[in-house]
């Protein structure tokens, strides 16, 4: 136990009472005040993540689902439609813009939006691999031709 939680456990160090130490942690972290602070913290993190050219879709989806799960555990979840809005709004990678636009136009539910972003990511990743292989083949052909010319 490190950081700000250690004093909660340490207060029972003279009697080494595991039950009381755990209950102290429960009361502290699941008491009303801290729960709303935590929910606020999670909500603000949720609204800061984005799917950009530097942050892959799978990580973005994973973060969103983790934060959402935390909010559900705290009983402070956003509505499904607002979560869908956040999910689509925070996709800034131009490669996904058409997918986002179609999702908005068709008013798809969150699960479908996630599935479509995932499949778009798979297509992009396959395209990248294909063009990389084509580049490697082209270079190899050029080297073979160059060597042949000597």
């Amino acid at each position: 136990m490190d950081g700000s939680a250690s004093h909660l456990v340490d207060q029972y160090s003279d009697i080494n009472d595991g039950h009381k130490a755990f209950q102290a942690l429960l009361n502290w972290y699941e008491g009303d005040n801290l729960t709303s602070d935590t929910a606020e913290d999670v909500r603000s993190k949720l609204e800061k993540i984005s799917l950009s050219t530097r942050y892959p879709a799978s990580n973005y989806i994973n973060d969103l689902q983790q934060y959402n799960k935390l909010l559900v555990q705290l009983g402070e979840e956003f509505s499904r439609s607002y979560t869908t809005t956040i999910f689509l709004r925070q996709i800034t990678d131009p490669e996904f813009q058409l997918t986002v636009q179609l999702d908005i136009e068709n008013k798809l539910p969150l699960k479908d939006c996630i599935d479509r972003v995932r499949s778009r990511e798979r297509i992009l990743s396959r395209d990248k691999t294909t063009s990389k292989n084509a580049y490697v083949n082209l270079r190899r052909d050029n080297v073979v031709n160059d060597v042949g010319n000597f």
Binding site: D2, L25, T38
Partner: protein
């Protein structure tokens, strides 16, 4: 024979507790990580057969050694 058997059980329990203590990991006090740490801690205590220590004050009182072990696992 009986003595040997109970020693072996005690050793097994001790090593199981050590193993589970490692799987809990350190909680850094950040509230955002509380729920996932709590889930890990409860799962580990459950496997070590000590979940009742966390939840039941009377049980914890009656099993002072396990209660102390749980304290050191936290």
């Amino acid at each position: 024979m009986g003595q040997g058997h109970s020693n072996s059980n005690a050793n097994q329990k001790r090593s199981n507790v050590k193993l589970q203590a490692q799987s809990i990991g350190t909680f850094d006090g950040k509230s955002i990580k509380w729920h996932s740490w709590k889930a890990r801690a409860r799962a580990a205590m459950g496997i070590a057969g000590m979940l009742d220590i966390l939840d039941k004050p009377d049980y914890a009182k009656k099993n002072a050694i396990d209660n102390e072990t749980v304290f050191h696992m936290l």
